[in-house]
């Protein structure tokens, strides 16, 4: 993983006039053209568009009116709409779909002069934990090309991990930013539901979907969050909670911080080496003046079941729109409407998407709604209350991001339930509506990255960033 630069160092080079945005952009385009043959992290490389943008940003710099993200090279998960570019969601059904408008996050990044370099590969519609469910090609982990990079934002994670972008946007419904961040050794933040507008984000599970940030450093993550957070009239679920200056959190230490370690996250199924590394960081925090103690989230074990009932129900409804009428793929030469819908959908969607639509349709169907869907929403309340109880006495909750490091390609792709269980530590934050970050803390004996997860109260992104940054500064990376 050589030749990685973070935004802060590039910013200094730009300010000193040692480089301009056009050269920088060109370097990254070349890096992607060359490097991505191995990884399949990108679905579209936006070379022309990025070069034009760089020319405009250089002009603005010369006039002294460039934005705060000048020089930030950003990759965007291919589920976020960007005007005039293909947005495939990793699906055959949207293979040729061109977004007619910009998502709010894209507008905001452009307004601050970030360079948008390409659209990244992913599990189809965000459904998966390995990026093998892409209709195009599976994404490979830069630390071992035989292994998965995690998912569903696997392309975004690899773009950052392999130095093909400084940061990337992903989306996190049940862990799709944090899990691939952990498995590829980068920072991944899932903000509070409502912190970032979802306008222009193509929906998978609307009560859980949230745009997140993958980056090489915590500082860069904070920079992007500052720009894209905030209320948007076009998303009525976006929050008008005040936005703090996130970088003010980065200079704070951890003295006096009350930290909870849920015993449920350290039981059977957690890899021994990961446990060891997490314990080391807990000691580091304790020695840094924090008060680390064991807490309980007694219903954590019900997270996966609750999550998969709610997300599949919402997905079956959201994905009803792909009918071959308004946009996307339509099977040719069909003369009858009903079979046009059915054949278009059956040929356009991949297996995991079909499986989730089927499960969601089942749990919403007459006679099962109360027993499954309503039941899951009630358990969601109980899980949320567990978090509320712990946060009465704790500032943050820590633990592993994933139960294992990156697994092999094909290892779980034929066993959906086993694949679902790889989200065991990430699904409860979205259910409870709290923000959570994964920060790299080292590697296992196979040389594969390990992620450390920090979860805070609703709208406590500042605390996540503060502790993640403190850890980043205070550990010695191998």
């Amino acid at each position: 993983m050589t030749g990685k630069s973070d935004f802060q160092s590039v910013r200094q080079l730009l300010a000193a006039g040692d480089i301009n945005c056009q050269d920088l952009t060109q370097q990254y385009i070349e890096k992607i053209n060359e490097g991505d043959k191995k990884f399949n992290a990108f679905i579209s490389i936006l070379g022309e568009m990025a070069r034009e943008q760089a020319v405009a940003v250089d002009r603005k710099m010369a006039e002294g009116r460039a934005g705060r993200l000048t020089g930030m090279i950003v990759a965007v998960k291919d589920i976020i709409s960007m005007k005039g570019t293909r947005t495939t969601c990793g699906s055959k059904i949207l293979k040729n779909y061109i977004s007619p408008y910009d998502a709010t996050v894209i507008e905001r990044l452009k307004a601050e002069d970030a360079i948008l370099i390409g659209k990244t590969n992913m599990d189809e519609f965000g459904m998966g934990s390995s990026s093998e469910n892409s209709a195009f090609q599976p994404v490979k982990n830069p630390y071992d090309l035989e292994r998965i990079p995690g998912g569903s934002s696997g392309g975004s994670a690899v773009a950052v991990s392999a130095g093909m972008a400084m940061s990337a946007l992903g989306t996190d419904t049940g862990g799709s930013v944090r899990q691939p961040a952990a498995l590829t050794g980068v920072v991944g933040l899932r903000p509070t539901y409502g912190r970032i507008s979802r306008y222009g984000l193509i929906a998978f599970a609307s009560s859980l979907d949230q745009i997140g940030i993958l980056s090489q450093t915590v500082t860069d993550c904070a920079e992007i969050l500052q720009v894209i957070a905030g209320r948007d009239d076009r998303d009525s679920t976006s929050s008008d909670q005040p936005i703090p200056e996130y970088n003010t959190f980065l200079s704070r230490d951890v003295k006096g911080l009350q930290i909870g370690m849920p015993s449920e996250f350290f039981g059977e199924g957690l890899d021994k080496e990961i446990k060891q590394e997490i314990d080391k960081i807990a000691d580091l925090l304790q020695n840094g003046g924090a008060n680390v103690r064991e807490v309980s989230l007694p219903h954590a074990d019900y997270g996966i079941a609750t999550y998969y009932l709610i997300c599949t129900a919402e997905a079956s409804s959201n994905l009803a729109r792909y009918d071959g009428v308004h946009y996307g793929f339509r099977k040719d030469h069909l003369t009858e409407l009903e079979s046009m819908y059915t054949i278009t959908r059956s040929q356009g969607f991949g297996d995991e998407v079909k499986r989730r639509i089927m499960l969601g349709t089942y749990v919403l169907s007459a006679g099962y709604y109360e027993a499954y869907y309503r039941k899951a929403q009630k358990v969601r309340t109980i899980i949320r209350q567990d978090y509320e109880r712990v946060f009465k006495t704790c500032d943050i909750i820590i633990g592993p991001t994933t139960p294992t490091t990156a697994f092999r390609l094909g290892e779980k792709s034929h066993d959906p339930l086993r694949m679902y269980l790889s989200d065991i530590y990430t699904v409860s934050a979205p259910l409870a509506g709290v923000p959570s970050i994964s920060v790299p803390i080292g590697k296992d004996s196979k040389g594969l990255p390990i992620g450390f997860q920090i979860t805070a109260k609703p709208f406590g992104e500042g605390q996540c960033l503060r502790v993640a940054h403190w850890i980043e500064k205070n550990i010695n990376h191998q």
């Binding site: 061109i98 007619p100 408008y101 509070t192 539901y193 409502g194 009560s207 009525s236 679920t237 929050s239 219903h299 019900y302 996966i304 079941a305 609750t306 998969y308 009932l309 079956s316 009803a320 009918d323 071959g324 009428v325 308004h326 946009y327 996307g328 793929f329 069909l334 009858e336 409407l337 009903e338 046009m340 819908y341 059915t342 054949i343 959908r345 059956s346 969607f349 079909k354 499986r355 639509i357 089927m358 499960l359 349709t361 089942y362 169907s365 499954y372 309503r374 039941k375 899951a376 929403q377 009630k378 969601r380 309340t381 109980i382 959906p416 339930l417 679902y420 259910l431 509506g433 609703p458």
Partner: protein, 97 residues
Amino acid sequence: MRIQKEDVEKIAKLAKLQFSEDEIEKFRGHLEEILTYVNKLNELNTDGVEPTYYVQHAGDVMREDRVKPSLPREEALKNAPAQDKGFFRVPKVIDQT
């Protein structure tokens, strides 16, 4: 939790999907396994618990009812697989029995 072939066919029809015989058996097995797993929620007593629909629910969000610019028709139709005189075109749906 038993799922029958007929259940899969019924759900497929509702979801507007179709499967080969082999696929039906595969999906039947997966659905059965996943539904058996999620049945663990029945271990919990949820009597009197309010369901959570949205985590940050602040009540209804109102806005002024004002006309604002929206996508021009040509733009909105650009991605349509078939269009005709400013409309989406679909196979004929009337005069069929």
